[in-house]
């Protein structure tokens, strides 16, 4: 079974600085997708960024980028120029292509200090 591991239960960053959240996963599949979701306090979880495993180029969405290392099965999220609104739980997730069984990590709680 596929598993997703987030080894950092909590992280903190100073406003305007950069922080990297770690995620590793285990799979024998070749065609899969990886995701980072953000869950702000008392608000809906939303998709931050998605990476297709067949793409070598790392995905980027504004201040959010990933470092996808397929051989190492690593998928970290970098948040640049951190803002107070980035404070949230962040979940790494894995899914085989066109499959409804998405696997989530335990989450990392990010605190942003003013």
């Amino acid at each position: 079974a596929q598993t997703v591991t987030q080894s950092q239960p909590e992280m903190s960053v100073q406003e305007a600085e950069t922080v990297t959240l770690s995620c590793t996963y285990d799979t024998s599949e070749s065609d899969y997708y990886l995701f980072w979701y953000k869950q702000p306090p008392s608000r809906q979880m939303i998709l931050v960024i998605r990476q297709e495993a067949y793409k070598q180029q790392n995905a980027t969405e504004n201040r959010f980028s990933v470092n996808f290392q397929k051989a190492a099965k690593s998928f970290s999220l970098k948040i640049s120029d951190s803002q107070l609104g980035d404070a949230a739980m962040y979940f790494c997730a894995y899914s085989k292509y066109n499959n409804n069984d998405m696997r989530f990590g335990a989450g990392t709680r990010l605190t942003v200090k003013p």
């Binding site: 979880m45 998709l47 998605r50 409804n100 069984d101 989530f104 990590g105 335990a106």
Partner: protein
């Protein structure tokens, strides 16, 4: 703006009570999901549905059942609530196989406390 709405944000129930958690989506999505979120465990799939009246068990279906009579509505039922079902419950929806992107759209969650 896409929306997944869960009927109750906070519920307090007693052991043995029957509990209904309702979820409605307005995006015409084929897939709907119920997850349970617990600290340190992330999200665990209880049930999902890929079509009306269709359902599939997830990782932790014991003690739960679901109902999907209409495409937009997916209900989670706890037949006899127990204290170990105290948790945050998240509903989500997504496009079906024809338009699959993998993106899940979540509701705000229902925090259930069973006394």
């Amino acid at each position: 703006d896409v929306k997944v709405t869960q009927s109750s944000r906070y519920l307090v129930k007693r052991t043995g009570e029957k509990v209904f958690l309702e979820c409605v989506q307005d995006m015409d999505h084929e897939n709907m999901f119920w997850y349970r979120q617990d600290p340190g465990l992330g999200l665990r799939l209880i049930y999902f549905s890929y079509d009306v009246k269709m359902k599939e068990k997830g990782d932790i279906p014991e003690g739960y059942s679901v109902s999907r009579e209409k495409k937009e509505r997916f209900s989670l039922i706890l037949e006899s609530a127990s204290t170990n079902q105290t948790s945050m419950y998240l509903c989500a929806s997504s496009k079906g196989q024809g338009g699959w992107t993998g993106e899940l759209f979540f509701g705000e969650g229902s925090r259930l406390t069973v006394l």
